[in-house]
């Protein structure tokens, strides 16, 4: 910290190429969001009639109204929240504890179990669609939130386990051993010591899972047909007609509606990461 404050102006100047790089990275990342927003306000004739970077001639707020009502975005929102929140909680809880069990606990089949979880990372998920559909049909789970939740959890687990075992590998064993010496049970070790210390990684992994679930189309489209059960991403398909014609204005309005909360969630989780960093620094 002290070092950086003492940096001379010269050193700052040498940072100009770096700053340019940063600006470029920010530009290519932020402009698309801006573009989606201006596109969501364009009229039907502007998408091919004016250049992509042009501002809307008039503000077509009715695109949002149509996305919300005709596009049923309000229903989809509720469904997305009702499926993503439980899925995310479950996948993180189950995945992190499984990784802990595999990496920290000492048992014979630990390596084999990692491998078993790894298989699904390799297999293209499209392949399990037919068997799963048959299973959900037999158990009457089609068109329910539960079907989506267990699918998201199962699809997310391999990744959480894969990454968390990686993080637990670098985890200091002495801390755990010391705690056990002090008489802590293994569950106390998990909840009070291990979990807080890998919180950064947990939040990062949770973030990835959130985007996977929130942006999923394959699972939700396959296991739901009732429009009342659809999630937000399927809303983006609402303005495509039977001959391939697409109404881009309302589509982009739908996109903007779905993107807003994701950005908020990201900002919130990002705060958590920073807090985790700060508390880690205090402890260290």
């Amino acid at each position: 910290m002290r070092n950086s404050r003492q940096k001379s102006i010269l050193q700052h100047l040498s940072n100009i190429p770096v700053l340019a790089l940063v600006l470029l990275a920010v530009l290519v990342s932020v402009y698309p969001v801006f573009w989606i927003f201006i596109s969501s306000l364009k009229g039907v004739e502007e998408f091919s009639g004016s250049p992509m970077w042009a501002l809307p001639k008039e503000l077509h707020w009715e695109n949002y109204a149509r996305a919300w009502t005709e596009g049923k975005m309000s229903t989809y929102f509720l469904n997305s929240i009702l499926t993503v929140v439980p899925s995310l909680t479950l996948v993180v809880l189950l995945g992190v504890s499984a990784a802990f069990g595999i990496e920290i606990m000492q048992w014979r089949f630990a390596n084999l179990t990692t491998l078993v979880f790894l298989t699904a990372i390799m297999v293209p998920l499209q392949i399990v669609i037919l068997p799963l559909f048959t299973m959900y049909f037999a158990t009457r789970l089609l068109n329910t939130h539960l079907a989506l939740i267990i699918t998201y959890v199962a699809f997310g687990l391999p990744l959480v386990v894969f990454f968390m075992t990686g993080y637990f590998k670098t985890f200091s064993r002495e801390v755990i051993e010391a705690a056990i010496m002090d008489g802590a049970s293994i569950y106390q070790v998990f909840f009070k010591i291990a979990l807080p210390m890998v919180m950064n990684a947990v939040v990062t992994v949770a973030l990835v899972q959130f985007f996977f679930m929130w942006n999923d189309l394959l699972v939700s489209l396959t296991f739901t047909t009732s429009p009342d059960m659809r999630t937000v991403q399927s809303g983006l398909l609402n303005f495509v007609g039977q001959y391939g014609q697409r109404e881009w204005g309302p589509t982009f309005a739908s996109v903007a509606i779905t993107v807003a909360p994701t950005v908020l969630v990201y900002l919130f989780l990002n705060q958590l990461v920073m807090k985790g960093l700060a508390s880690g620094a205090v402890k260290g």
Binding site: V44, E45, F47, I129, P227, G244
Partner: protein, 421 residues
């Protein structure tokens, strides 16, 4: 002993009676799995009629379900695998619909409608057309009746001193003239693929006559025959000469249509479902009065004539025979006795159902198109109508390579013939 039996009977009655009572009051659920939005097109009309019916008959509940067109084939496979197809459902590929009918999953609508006395609500020409798609049986409801041809910009034609072409050569001469004048001759969405295969289709229909593709299906013609090669080459030439403009394969449906509607392209092959956009002043910048419509031109040495039009009934809507009962019958009777009129008055949609009298305020362009439809002497279907799913997919994928010159006409057709075998 006797007592025991009596108790058993009593117990059985106690268990069964409520079920029997329930069955009597049981409500019928009519579920429609559609590719359209709930309020759009035929789905909107059916939804409105169903709501009216349910008001009077509270025992029938109507439910709309949705599968985007891109996922429809997959969804139908899955639903069939679990034997859970809904009451009515869309099917995009005729070959799939015929398979479903074979499996007892799609009803013979002629039988069904005769059973409920509403077969006469259907327009016989539309029925014949629909039957020709699926091997002589009526398996889909003709909820739309579309006519396809070439829409053109009258003003651009007049400005360049060009008349409505009646022959392929005249159309190509017109295209060349537009090209030199710096106007894109045709707007077509290569991204959608079918707008290009339709041109090959039109050409062979003029070359061999309206039954060209039907004869391919029967095995009397092969798509590797000389006339097909000539057709594929003619379309490829259009691409090579730049008549479709730059980047035809990247152009989506809306952009292609806009090229025409914004006066940047002179001609546009499309079906009458585009009338909604053509009549919409917000989209149509050249003015509906400047839009003309002509049939696919004749080709040199061909048997086909300009009295034969490419017609279709839109995406097929099948009925699941397993859900056929009196309650469904009454529902069908109400909804489809009123469908034709409502589709036309509410949506301006021409359908395969009879309409007693035309609404007074139809747009001029729609009226003119209806007149052409009425005067059609003979009809032919779209290129892939009788293809297997695989062959349709091959026809569409490879046509992108054909039109840019990355695949020879011979190879295009050889690959297609292979997929057809």
């Amino acid at each position: 002993m006797n007592k025991k039996i009596r108790y058993t009977a009593l117990a059985a009655f106690a268990v069964l009676a409520p079920i029997g009572l329930m069955a009597e009051a049981q409500s019928k659920r009519v579920v429609f799995l559609s590719v359209q939005n709930a309020t759009e097109g035929f789905t909107g009309v059916i939804g409105k009629l169903a709501a009216e019916y349910s008001k009077q008959n509270t025992n029938v509940a109507y439910e709309y379900q949705n599968a985007p067109q891109a996922d429809l084939a997959q969804k139908l496979q899955l639903l069939t695998a679990s034997n859970s197809l809904p009451t009515m459902y869309n099917v995009a590929e005729p070959s799939l619909l015929m398979q479903l009918a074979e499996k007892g999953q799609a009803a013979d609508i002629e039988e069904l409608f005769k059973q409920y006395g509403i077969f006469d609500k259907l327009n016989p020409a539309a029925v014949a057309l629909q039957k020709s798609i699926t091997g002589g049986k009526l398996l889909g409801l003709p909820l739309e009746l579309n006519i396809e041809g070439i829409w053109y910009n009258k003003k651009l034609f007049a400005d360049n001193g060009i008349k409505e072409p009646t022959t392929w050569d005249a159309m190509m001469a017109a295209a060349a003239k537009f090209k030199t004048a710096g106007i894109q001759p045709f707007a077509a969405s290569g991204e959608q693929k079918w707008p290009i295969t339709r041109l090959i289709n039109g050409y062979v229909a003029r070359k061999y006559g309206a039954d060209a593709m039907a004869r391919v299906a029967k095995g009397e013609l092969k798509v590797t025959d000389a006339g097909f090669v000539e057709a594929a080459r003619a379309v490829q030439d259009m691409g090579k000469k730049g008549y479709f403009g730059a980047g035809v394969n990247t152009l989506d449906y809306g952009s292609a249509q806009d090229l025409f509607l914004q006066g940047k392209a002179a001609m546009f092959y499309m079906g009458s479902w585009a009338l909604g956009s053509l009549n919409d002043p917000k989209q149509n910048k050249i003015g509906a009065e400047n839009v003309g419509f002509f049939n696919f031109p004749t080709v040199r040495g061909g048997k086909g004539t300009r009295n034969e039009w490419s017609l279709n009934t839109g995406i097929a809507t099948a009925i699941n025979p397993k859900q056929n009962d009196a309650a469904l019958g009454a529902w069908l009777k109400y909804v489809f006795s009123n469908y034709g009129e409502r589709a036309l008055t509410d949506n301006g949609q021409i359908s395969g159902f009879k309409v007693a009298k035309l609404p007074a305020n139809l747009p001029a362009l729609t009226k003119a198109t209806l007149a052409k439809l009425g005067a059609a002497k003979n009809a032919y279907l779209w290129f892939e109508a009788k293809f297997s799913n695989k062959a349709s997919s091959v026809a569409g994928d490879n046509v992108q390579l054909l039109v840019t010159g990355d695949m020879t006409p011979e190879n295009y057709l050889a690959e297609l013939q292979k997929a057809l075998n």
